[in-house]
């Protein structure tokens, strides 16, 4: 039983973090039709910066228990790079997809060395801070409190995004722009500002996701390129452009990964790729995406 | 004479919505049949069934005696039917000659020649020039398609369909977007070209009733997914009932052959 719960919690925790990154990807794809290869780089940036922020905060006298809000704040603060990068992406909005992919690939290359410059080549960790939160007991099982908190936070963010998209005026305008940009523009929507906001939101989701993962995993220079593949698996399984898809895909990938790590480590990512390919073949729109040519 | 292309009791339904209901028509060699009708009457659906894009829910569609339900554009082209669209489709970066050559290559079965040279293929070049000349494009063989004026793009689009040496060609509103002054000129070129290219029958989808009246050997009118009328122009325009449905208030002018 404990093994089952461990896998479930581990899987759902990983899914929670993946969801944030995937949600960012889906938002940006939905509105700007760009697939951001640099989503993993934002994630890694959030991870590294999160570690530094917590270390600074503790050195400045903060009690270690407050590290979770610090991590979230660190992720949010990094959102400032969003508008700057969006300005760069503006040059390729109307161009062939190949150039869009290449531009984001260029960002991946650049971020690799930005991370290396600020944090060096060795993986970084937050040590055992996770223990500061202890574990909660649910019946016979023990769940690390931190994991539970992150899952809860992710669920809250998911609901917030959902409410935002469905109920607020900005959300409606966002969905309209995603459906039909020219029409939205003709109706007076400030598309430029919309694109900048959406991209920044997408960036923040990525950086917060990365920040939240560091108490349980090391930040390393492999993160950016490895995460991209998982994030893509999530959006493919869930369906490009769909928020519900991001949720569903994240759960599938997170739990599959947890199962694979526990029972057959060799198969870990392999199983995920097979599922991705199977889905692309059987139902290219994914679970919730729109049908494709 | 066995019809070149025919549908027998074709029905196409999307759930509860019936797009085509017991549509039967036959087109034989030497005919130019126009399909007319208000928007939503099922013209597009019928055309898609005739050109093998849509499988009918019921009924048969045959081309040269063979069932072509849902065979798709590639197979259709290979069997000898070509289709040109209302919206101009070109290969922007390819020249006029190259565009026409693509069709000729399909038609002569050379698609998998990996090592033969297009430039040195005299037969290909001759055929390309021949087709281009029919449409008055022989001076522009080396011009890129995207640089052509709109009218010539349209001609190129139709010319490339002709290059398939089709037995039947379906023209989907070929004069839409063309100025009134040029419409008749274009239609005449196309009909003449068809004769010279050995096309045996033309199917025309048109809204412009003047053109329909002048060039059709037969008019098929659709309404609500059913065939309302299937007659020669004289009988078609003589029937006020039909004309008011299809044409509206311009009955008077057309009935007098204006």
């Amino acid at each position: 039983m404990t093994a089952f719960v461990d896998i479930l919690i581990g899987g759902v925790f990983h899914a929670a973090v993946l969801f944030l990154v995937a949600a960012g990807l889906q938002l940006v794809f939905g509105v700007q039709k760009i697939v951001n290869l640099a989503c993993g780089s934002f994630y890694a940036l959030g991870a590294y910066f999160g570690i530094s922020a917590v270390n600074w905060a503790i050195a400045a006298g903060m009690p270690p228990q407050l590290f979770l809000p610090v991590l979230i704040a660190a992720g949010v603060v990094l959102g400032v790079i969003g508008p700057a990068i969006e300005l760069l992406l503006r040059t390729v909005y109307d161009r062939d997809e190949a150039f869009q992919l290449l531009l984001t690939f260029a960002l991946v290359l650049m971020f690799q060395d930005v991370l290396r410059f600020f944090w060096g080549a060795n993986p970084q960790q937050l040590g055992n801070l996770v223990m500061a939160y202890g574990k909660i007991e649910v019946g016979e099982v023990q769940i690390p409190t931190y994991n539970a908190l992150v899952i809860a936070a992710s669920v809250l963010i998911a609901m917030a995004i959902g409410a935002f998209l469905q109920r607020t005026r900005f959300g409606r305008i966002l969905r309209a722009t995603a459906e039909n940009r020219e029409m939205a523009q003709a109706l007076g929507v400030n598309v430029r500002w919309m694109y900048a906001s959406v991209f920044t939101l997408g960036t923040v989701l990525g950086t917060v996701g990365g920040a939240l993962v560091v108490p349980t995993a090391a930040a390393s220079l492999d993160m950016p390129v490895e995460l991209v593949v998982e994030a893509f698996a999530v959006v493919v399984i869930g369906g490009l452009g769909s928020m519900r898809g991001a949720l569903a895909g994240a759960l599938v990938v997170g739990i599959m990964r947890a199962l694979a790590i526990r029972y057959y480590a060799e198969l870990e990512m392999l199983a995920i790729y097979v599922v991705v390919i199977a889905i692309l073949v059987a139902r290219p729109a994914g679970l919730f995406g729109k049908p494709v040519e | 004479m066995t019809p070149l292309i025919e549908t027998t009791d074709v029905r196409k339904a999307y759930g509860d919505f019936v797009a085509l209901d017991r549509v039967s028509l036959a087109i034989s060699e030497g005919e130019l049949v126009s399909i007319v009708g208000p928007n939503g009457a099922g013209k597009t659906t019928l055309v898609n069934v005739l050109t093998g894009l849509l499988k009918p829910t019921a009924g048969v569609v045959r081309f040269k005696g063979e069932d072509i339900a849902g065979i798709g554009p590639v197979a259709l082209a290979r069997r000898g039917m070509a289709r040109a669209f209302q919206l101009v489709h070109i290969f922007p970066a390819m020249t006029v000659a190259e565009t026409i050559a693509v069709a000729v290559i399909s038609q002569t079965g050379k698609s998998l020649r990996l090592f033969a040279s297009v430039k040195k293929d005299a037969a290909l070049a001759a055929r390309v020039r021949e087709v281009a000349a029919i449409f008055g494009l022989e001076a522009k063989l080396d011009d890129e398609a995207r640089l052509l004026p709109q009218g010539e793009k349209k001609l190129l689009d139709i010319a490339s369909a002709f290059a398939l040496s089709p037995e039947v060609i379906l023209l989907d509103e070929p004069t839409s977007g063309v100025s009134t002054a040029d419409k008749h000129g274009l239609m005449r070129s196309v009909v003449d070209a068809a004769k010279r290219a050995g096309v045996k029958a033309i199917i025309l989808v048109e809204h412009d009733m003047d053109l329909v009246a002048e060039y059709s050997s037969r008019i098929v009118a659709l309404q609500g997914g059913r065939v309302l009328a299937d007659r020669a122009p004289a009988q078609f325009f003589a029937d006020p009932g039909i004309v008011s449905v299809i044409v509206g208030k311009r009955v008077g002018r057309l009935a007098t052959g204006g």
Partner: protein, 323 residues
Amino acid sequence: MMRLALALAAIVALAALPRLISAYYITLVLPAFAYGIALLGFNLLFGYTGLLSFGHALFVAVGAYGAAVLSSKLGVKSFELVLLLSGLAAVLAAVPVALLSVRYVRIFFGILTLAFGMLFHSVLFKFYDLTGGDTGIRVLRPSLLGMDFEKLDKTSFLVGPFYYYCLALLVALAIVMWRVVRSPFGLQLVAIRENPRKAEYLGVRVRFLRFVAFLISAFYCAVGGVILAINTGQADPELAYWTHSGELVFMTVLGGFASFFGPLVGAFTFIFLKSELMGMTQYWRFVLGVILVLIVVLFPRGLVGLVQDVASRASRLVPRAPK
């Protein structure tokens, strides 16, 4: 004619290179040959057919591992046999990938090929017993045209007979590709790129031709992989990683994907650029990233496109002689 003259000049220059520059630089030219061949194939799919694959490094890796397995585990010494068998293996591997991928276009094609590439990487990485895991497999020196060069040390072999063989291979495969892109098949590929729907209506078997182009590109990539592997003496899983596929695209666009010679120019430029940058700074990836940004934003037709633009502007400046 101009292009033929330039090409011949380049071949002569390359043939003379071993006498002119140091062995160190020659060992860089070999990867340039390898990537040049790989990119000729890649660009058939990208530049000519309009399909951007983010997983073609998979076939480079098949070539490399083919060479490794054939030479170290199966004792095959003949370079010709290694090339042929590895190429064939790549084509076989490409069949399922292509069958599944050519149904989709644009971003879905890119993601699907990326997934296949990473699937292969995963297999190479995880199945330690078969593939040597993350260390990979050694690649032994082959015999060229039946001749063993055992007396030569590694470097002398690479910069001597192997160099000339690979140059000849590059020229031969380039001629073959030249004919392919100028064939009826090649013309229909361009039609598919320009307007797949219209191409269908003109009787072009879009999916089938894309499939064939994919297989050809896989073969070329594998040949490149074989040369790379013999040069380094090792086949390792990172060859299949998606960022390596990204580099293939980078090189192609750097040289110019809209031109036949663009990818070749791109391969040579990238290899030398990367090597020089690595010597100058540890942040060479950043510089490469900036260069890619500049290409995408300012010079999308790559170096060849740039030269063509400059040349056409220059020719307009030169006053023509009065007739």
